[in-house]
């Protein structure tokens, strides 16, 4: 069995360089690779292009990388919850490319499935379509969107094994499985790392072939962005 285990986040990202493109899993703050984000801040590499659905909040998630000015460009679908992001965008320090959420997910999927491009109706007739090839299939127009190319994909899973197989929990799954398939090098941090053979092969979400490095993360904060409750007495 091939062993994918590394000691921790710092080792996992040791060869990540200035100017590279990375995918970061998560939706809002749910299912984000907290350990690797902290390690990226420690390493201090700069001019990163980050493909991630959101940009975190001011003091958590990708917001930490923005605070330390390590991000040159964000490719996201929704970036609303971050004042530092807004400041850098308006001052021209940060470049941002906003793309439809389904397009973002499917461009990751295309990369992991070995397909160079996809056709999607999202954005036809809008400014998202500017400069893009439009194709008509069965009377409906579709935009051609290219598969992402990312030097690294960094994802967070619930459980993983030494062979790199991953299982996600609840809606912390979100973009993680598609990004896991899409990196030239994929790094997975997991809450619980077990020996190969301990996970049921039928339950694996991401097969280990896609994962190059895996480690058990520590000190997960799992911050909640919008704590919404109903009262106990209906």
């Amino acid at each position: 069995m091939i062993n994918k285990v590394v000691a921790g986040a710092d080792e996992a990202i040791h060869d990540l360089k200035d100017g590279q493109t990375l995918m970061l899993g998560g939706f809002g703050l749910c299912g984000i690779p907290e350990n690797c984000i902290n390690a990226l801040v420690r390493k201090g590499i700069k001019d990163l292009t980050c493909i991630s659905n959101n940009a975190g909040v001011d003091d958590f998630g990708i917001g930490l990388l923005l605070q330390s000015r390590q991000v040159k460009k964000m490719i996201s679908s929704y970036v609303g919850e971050n004042a530092e992001f807004e400041r850098q965008l308006l001052s021209g320090e940060l470049e941002v490319e906003l793309i439809p959420q389904g397009t973002l997910a499917t461009r990751c999927l295309a990369a992991g499935y070995g397909m160079p491009a996809i056709f999607t109706p999202a954005g036809v007739g809008t400014e998202v379509a500017e400069g893009k090839e439009v194709r008509n299939f069965n009377g409906k127009e579709y935009l051609m969107e290219y598969a992402f190319e990312a030097d690294f994909a960094i994802v967070k899973a619930w459980k993983g094994d030494t062979a790199g197989n991953l299982i996600y929990k609840s809606t912390a799954r979100n973009f993680n499985p598609v990004m896991a398939t899409a990196g030239k090098i994929t790094i997975a941090e997991v809450e619980e790392l077990v020996e190969a053979g301990e996970l049921d092969p039928d339950q694996i979400h991401t097969p280990g072939v896609y994962v190059h490095r895996i480690f058990q993360g520590v000190d997960y904060e799992k911050r909640i962005e919008q704590r919404t409750l109903r009262s106990k007495n209906p």
Partner: protein, 219 residues
């Protein structure tokens, strides 16, 4: 005139038994509170959940279980969880029966603008462009006029578009309107106490407004 809950309550009457429904943020979210008795619908949250349940009670919130508005939620018997690509796969392949979302502007040709105001901070389109480009049935829930008193039902949208020729029905605090295939707003129902003339004044796009348009009925 309806309040936000009234708009949500009226839209809830459009739900049919067995529908899979995607609810946007804002007024559309409130629709979940008014699902008529005997109607079973499954709510989709595009971050990867079918069968969205109510908010949790205190102590049972789970940071790994949120909706597309990043709110803590619960699952229900029969719920399923999947990744973001599959989530938009089921949207694109029209497995979702109804999409309800908010808007800044809607045109008489069914164009919608709801993601960007030039010159102001742009937060992004999220899943809205995917939803409006693919959904077979979209209802817009919004205010008839903006805060400056200008109509949001227009001959042509002035803001950057989210989607083209895709909206079929609009429910506002004043009225229920269909958008006709040939263009134009067809007034179907008036909100309680609102006159046809009042709706005409609040609608900038082409409006077909029969004088005998009925008032909305709520059970």
């Amino acid at each position: 005139m309806l309040d936000k809950n009234g708009i949500a309550k009226r839209i809830a009457k459009e739900l049919k038994d067995g529908f899979y429904v995607n609810l946007g943020i804002g007024i559309p979210t409130l629709v979940a509170n008014y699902i008529p008795e005997g109607i079973n619908v499954v709510l989709q949250s595009e971050n990867g959940l079918l069968g969205m349940g109510p908010f949790p009670i205190e102590g049972q919130e789970d940071p790994d279980l949120i909706n597309a508005g990043k709110q803590t939620i619960t699952t229900l018997p029969g719920s399923s969880i999947f990744d973001s690509a599959l989530s938009f796969g089921m949207i694109r392949s029209q497995k979702i029966d109804l999409t309800i979302l908010g808007a800044m502007e809607v045109s008489e040709h069914g164009d919608i603008a709801n993601w960007k105001i030039p010159g102001k901070m742009v937060k992004g389109m999220g899943g809205a462009m995917d939803l409006v480009a693919s959904a077979k049935n979209i209802i817009v829930a919004m205010q008839h006029v903006n805060k400056a008193g200008e109509s949001k039902l227009l001959p042509k949208c002035s803001l950057p578009l989210t989607g083209v020729n895709c909206i079929k029905k609009v429910v506002t605090e004043l009225a229920v309107l269909d958008i006709l295939p040939e263009g134009g707003f067809q007034l179907l129902e008036r909100a309680p106490g609102v006159s046809v003339d009042y709706i005409k004044q609040a609608t900038a796009g082409r409006l077909i407004a029969p004088e005998d348009t009925p008032e909305m009925k709520f059970d």
